[in-house]
């Protein structure tokens, strides 16, 4: 498992960690039941504070991605891939709804919106 953090990015380090781990889980590189590095071990490897890694793990646990067992460590929780995918899909749907609304108000038609989306897809 590889985690690369950037000191110069504007994104807080704990967020970089939690989103990278989320991605690994969603992409299937981390499976249900896989043991994550301890918060202290991770802090040492990344040369950051243990408070930061703890915050990242706390967030992941809150969102249901991992489970921490006292004395044993943190494990990738099950079923989340589906749940998360669903959740993300829902968010995308909501955002698309907003886009549809705004575009209609502005008088844009579907093709114009599609063209914008195409360009953005290539940039991201």
């Amino acid at each position: 498992m590889n985690i690369i953090i950037s000191n110069s990015s504007n994104e807080p380090i704990y967020e970089q960690i939690s989103s990278q781990i989320k991605e690994l889980i969603l992409r299937g590189e981390l499976d249900e039941g896989d043991l994550l590095p301890s918060i202290r071990g991770l802090a040492r490897d990344l040369q950051i504070s243990v408070i930061t890694t703890k915050r990242a793990y706390d967030e992941l646990e809150r969102e249901g991605f991992i489970q921490t067992m006292q004395g044993k460590g943190s494990y990738v929780a099950g079923q989340n891939k589906e749940l998360m995918k669903e959740k993300k899909l829902k968010i995308i749907e909501e955002k698309l709804w907003e886009i549809a609304e705004e575009s209609k108000l502005l008088g844009l038609n579907y093709e114009e919106v599609e063209a914008m989306l195409k360009i953005l897809f290539e940039e991201v």
Partner: protein, 284 residues
Amino acid sequence: MNYSLEIKNLRKEFKGFTLKDLNIKLEPGFIMGFIGPNGAGKTTTIKLIMNLIKKDGGQIKVFGKDHVAAEKEIKDRIGFVYDENYYYEDLSIRQMKNIVSKFYSKWDDNQFNSYINEFDLNPKAKIKTLSKGMKMKFSLAIALSHQADLIIMDEPTSGLDPVFRRGILDILYNIIQDENKSIFFSTHITTDLEKIADYITFINDGEILFSEAKDKILDSYRIVKGSTKMLEGNRDKFIGLRETDVGFEGLTNNINQIESSFNNDVLIEKASLEDIMVYSIRGE
């Protein structure tokens, strides 16, 4: 909860300098960086904790016990590394170790020997032949070889090269893998702490300016850069300012205020611990 170190309203008066209202709390399992300019009171604070000098007021507890009443018991669990590490000059490392080890109840000779090996020190070398860096390594080897639960270090890396300093940080990281151990580390080299510290206490002129989680500190301070004319009427928004012919640079801990006052006309960047320290002091 039992703090590793708990200081309440500590006070010490000298001629021309007073340490006052010191409040510090350190939980087990964390590293606290104690930063401040030279003469701010860092060494004084450490001497007070170790009861080398007598406090004039306040309370110091280590592992939940009063630092004087339970002095011997506490010091058995403290490993210390000072800025100037003095030992009996004519003795060898091994002889010096033999003297010191007798005082600790949980001395581990194997651990000591492995550190001496790792640090590339010759046990037969006389103390007087050791450089400052080697004496520091020797102190560290002793500090880590008696199951200490609190490591107190006073400017351990000043005068040492960066390669060496990173090596020390690695060792500290390894110590802190045990969540029952804590480290209290004073320094004016803030780059060392930027990575490793969990908490930062900043002292200046005998008083504490803040004592917080490092992440929180780095999240709330920003460096703001812009053109000089923008400063009109805005100078008081900054903790510290540096004005030049080509613009200004200032420190703020109120990002929202800056963003609303200046919109996007200024450059806002993360502040390093050194920035925070320097501007907080100079800006007064």
